[in-house]
Symmetry: C2
Subunit: 193 residues, 2 copies
C-alpha cells in the first residue's frame, strides 16, 4: 500500500525569518533540506502541495509581514499556481482557507512538516487529525528553537528543555493520536520516489 | 487586576473512564481535587462554567459513550443548567457548540484543565488561544497517563517519557504561546476565593 499516493504536502512556516538569532539555538539543521526533498518528489509526481506561512502580529518579530523574514526560504518557495496561505496564529487551519482548499481538492491525507515542531507544526497537525484528515508528520523535516522549547511556566521550576528534546517530545505527543510520525526517507521510499 | 473576574472555566474529560487501568501509570493524583476546588470557587462566585467530555469512537475504550466510564467523575459533575458538550476528538472546539456558547455568553477569558495534559487539554488550549480567547491552564488540575506519554515514533529510538515529564513538557509548550500556565492556588488567590 502506498499511503502517500493521494496525499498532499503541507509546508508550515519555512520562512527566512527563522534564520534570525532571535529564536536562539535550534536542532536539526537538515529540516529545510528534507523539506526540499519532499517538495521536489511531490512536484515530480504531480501531487498536491499547500504552503502556509506566518504573518506575526508583533511588528518586531522576524516573521512580521513588513520585513524580509516573511519570505519563504528559497529552497521551498512556492511555484506559480501552488496554493499558499497566510496565517496569524499557530494553526494553519484558523483564519485561512486551508481546510476549504484541501476539501475542494479532494484531499484526505496530508503530510505536514516545517517550523516549529511544538508550536505551529504540532497545532496544525492536531487540527488536521481532529478535522478528519489522515495526517503524517515528517519528523526530520521539522525543527525547534530555544525560543519555543525553553519555557518554564513556574518560577524556580526548571524544565531544562533543549530544542532536540522539545522536538522529540512534541512528536511523541502527536504520534498515534493525531498523526503517524515518520522520517523523510521512509516517506520518499514508500511514496515511490 | 483580577484576571479571572470574567473568566469561564472549561473542564476537559474528567470522566470515570480514566480510572480504568487501560491508561497505565499516571502523574498528579491531585488533579481531580484541584479541579473540584476551582469548580466550587467558580460556582460560588457565579462565574460561568463549561463542561466537556469525550465520547470515544472506539467501542472498547473506557470512554465509550455506551459504558459507565463516559460519566463525569462525581466531584466535578455538572449541575443542572451548566452547559456540557460531548466531543469525539481531542479538541473541545471541533464538532461541538463550545465556541458558539462561549461567544454567546460574552466570554473572553478561559481557564482550562482536565485530562490528559498533552492530548485533549493541550489541543483545546491551543485552539482557545488561536481562536482569540485569553487562555489560562491550571497545571495541577491536569494529569497525564502512560497511554498518552510513552509513545515512541521511531522503532528503536527511546523516548522514555514518564507521565510527569510528558505533562510538564506539554505545559511548557503551551506557556507563553497559547496560554498562561498557573497552579490552582495562584488562580484561586487571584480570583479572590
Amino acid at each position: 500500500m502506498n499511503r502517500f499516493a493521494d496525499a498532499a504536502l503541507i509546508l508550515i512556516d519555512i520562512q527566512k525569518g527563522f534564520d534570525d538569532p532571535y529564536w536562539g539555538e535550534r536542532n536539526n539543521r537538515q529540516a529545510e533540506a528534507n523539506a526540499a526533498r519532499l517538495l521536489a518528489a511531490w512536484r515530480a509526481a504531480g501531487r498536491p502541495v499547500f504552503h502556509v506561512r506566518h504573518a506575526s502580529r508583533n511588528p518586531s518579530s522576524p516573521l512580521s509581514p513588513e520585513g524580509p523574514g516573511f519570505a519563504f526560504k528559497d529552497e521551498v518557495a512556492p511555484l506559480p499556481g501552488e496554493p499558499a496561505f497566510v496565517k496569524n496564529v499557530n494553526s494553519g487551519f484558523i483564519g485561512t482557507g486551508l481546510e476549504a482548499a484541501l476539501r475542494g481538492a479532494g484531499v484526505e491525507r496530508v503530510v505536514i512538516f516545517g517550523l516549529t515542531t511544538p508550536h505551529c507544526v504540532s497545532t496544525t497537525t492536531r487540527m488536521a487529525g481532529n478535522l478528519g484528515f489522515v495526517a503524517f508528520v515528517a519528523a526530520d523535516a521539522c525543527a525547534d528553537f530555544a525560543a519555543s522549547s525553553a519555557r518554564c511556566w513556574r518560577e524556580g521550576e526548571a524544565i531544562a528543555l533543549d530544542p532536540e528534546t522539545s522536538h522529540r517530545v512534541a512528536l511523541a505527543h502527536l504520534h498515534g493520536e493525531f498523526a503517524t510520525v515518520l522520517d523523510t526517507a521512509t516517506i520518499l521510499t514508500e511514496a515511490g520516489q
